[in-house]
């Protein structure tokens, strides 16, 4: 007896569940689709959306890239290549810098890897070509005249690189201690 009631309950629940599901799906026929039709309707993307890559400059107008190859190493699809050189004053720079956007997957790992904030990703994603070779961007295509997401950052003024002044002149760095004296 208990078994039979159980069976009836189960089948009743199944029928109720099925009816409910079908009714919900049918009601969706008359609801407005949530689709945004892309070429006619363009949503404004957040400023930090990751798409096309740029190379930024520091506040002094110098290229930030020091050609450390970390972005090329981090890139999962190996679309970044460059050659590093050293200037007379000891500052490193990339003599050429190339990104193959036909292969780029906009993962943002290069941005993560960059120690100088040189590589940054911008919201511009609408670029495509029939000829793949025109998607290869050289350094002059990538360089911009601003600092991107952080305009004030200057790698050489911040880190312990002896470039713009002696020890203790960098931002956030304590004055050098005179180890010969105990005076405060």
């Amino acid at each position: 007896m208990h078994q039979r009631r159980n069976w009836l309950q189960i089948s009743g629940r199944a029928v109720a569940g099925l009816t409910d599901a079908f009714a919900i799906v049918f009601r969706h026929l008359f609801r407005r689709p949530v689709t945004e039709e892309y070429p006619e309707f363009k949503r404004v993307l957040p400023a930090r959306t990751r798409a096309r890559i740029i190379l930024t400059r520091d506040p002094d107008g110098e290229e930030r890239c020091v050609s450390c190859y970390l972005c090329a190493a981090a890139c999962p699809v190996s679309c970044i290549s460059m050659a590093g050189e050293e200037r007379a004053d000891g500052r490193r720079w990339a003599s050429w810098f190339r990104i193959n956007f036909a292969r780029c997957i906009y993962c943002g790992l290069c941005e993560e890897a960059c120690p100088t904030l040189a590589i940054q990703l911008t919201p511009n994603f609408e670029f495509c070509e029939r000829d793949l070779l025109t998607m290869v961007a050289e350094k002059q295509d990538l360089l911009v005249d601003h600092g991107g997401k952080n305009n004030d950052y200057n790698f050489y003024r911040r880190a312990g690189v002896d470039m713009v002044g002696g020890k203790g002149t960098h931002i956030g760095e304590a004055k050098t201690l005179n180890i010969k004296s105990n005076l405060p």
Partner: protein
């Protein structure tokens, strides 16, 4: 002699008209299904090619026809190349016995509203649907791919299992119409469509034929999450298109068969018979798409249990009950 020639010409014209109508209906069913699924899921569906995307089937056909026709290494080439033909041919050939109108008269000569009124029409439908297994099994086997082979084995097992309940569910219809001919079955529903007298048979027939078509919730042979595309994983271009076309022609044919067996065929008040027939076919197709939008996929063991432990026994009980009731009401052969 001229009458004979006229008969041949009328037959050929009718064949062409039915074929073109069937293929167009199937092609636009693909479009309608994609649009409806879009709406069910709060999307839009294809709406780019032409106004409201109405040219989408043509764009799809052009794309499929111009794609490269690949065959995998190690495939059994001849079987691989010709397996897709079977499914499309079987689906189209079923329509030869489906009555779509009561018929017309042209200059005093009657034109029946069916291509051929076979006196074993129902069994002919059954035979062709059982031949459709070959395209699945052979196509999957000859692809030389494990996904295809698994899909083919599942497909063959599923189609054999559900053919049984498909056939058994139609026995009460034959008992009540006293004929295998589809025209006679439509005529037997002059007073009352069989769906009111045989609701159980209708449900079993519908479920079994959805399983025969390998559509959701019975699409285990082509379960994309496990088997990529099942038995037609390795197919490309128009050969894949034939599998696709076969599936949708089968859907139209199923709609027509449900209309003929249970909904009274072309019978209906006020509207012309052909229109009634089309409305019924479209309604059945809509229900199939609705099911696809609603249900998930059954597990393999659930599928087999549903077929063998529920549908077949219920169909057998339905036959016995129908026979008993008919005897009690004083039925004479």
């Amino acid at each position: 002699m001229s009458l004979w020639v006229a008969g041949i010409i009328i037959l050929i014209v009718k064949l062409l008209l039915v074929l073109v109508a069937l293929l167009l209906f199937a092609a636009y069913l693909i479009y309608v299904e994609r649009r409806l699924l879009g709406f069910f899921q709060l999307r839009l569906g294809p709406n780019r090619a032409g106004p409201w995307g109405l040219l989408q089937p043509i764009a799809d056909a052009v794309k499929l026809l111009t794609k490269e026709d690949l065959s995998p290494t190690g495939a059994d080439r001849v079987i691989f190349l010709y397996a897709p033909v079977v499914v499309a041919a079987a689906a189209i050939l079923i329509f030869a016995v489906v009555p779509f109108a009561p018929g017309w008269t042209f200059r005093g000569q009657p034109i029946p509203g069916v291509i051929t009124d076979l006196n074993v029409g129902l069994l002919y439908v059954y035979a062709l649907s059982s031949l459709a297994v070959y395209s699945v099994a052979l196509g999957g086997w000859s692809s030389n791919s494990k996904y295809s082979l698994l899909g083919a084995i599942r497909g063959a097992a599923q189609m054999i299992s559900y053919e049984l309940s498909l056939g058994l569910s139609l026995v009460p219809i034959v008992m009540m119409a006293k004929s295998f001919s589809l025209v006679d079955i439509v005529n037997a529903q002059a007073r009352c469509p069989f769906i009111l007298l045989q609701p159980v048979a209708c449900i079993i027939f519908f479920i079994s034929s959805v399983a025969e078509m390998k559509r959701i919730p019975f699409d285990i042979p082509e379960a994309e999450h496990e088997l990529i595309a099942g038995y037609h994983t390795e197919y490309s271009g128009m050969r894949f298109g034939l599998f696709f076309l076969g599936e949708y022609v089968t859907m139209v044919t199923l709609g027509a068969l449900v209309a003929v067996f249970f909904l009274g065929g072309w019978r209906g008040p006020w509207l012309p018979p052909l229109l009634w027939f089309l409305i019924k076919v479209a309604a059945v197709s809509f229900v199939i798409i609705w099911i696809r939008g609603t249900l998930g996929r059954l597990r393999y063991d659930q599928l087999m249990h549903l077929g063998w432990k529920l549908l077949v026994p219920v169909a057998l009980i339905n036959i016995i009950v129908t026979g008993g009731v008919m005897l009690a009401w004083g039925y004479k052969v």
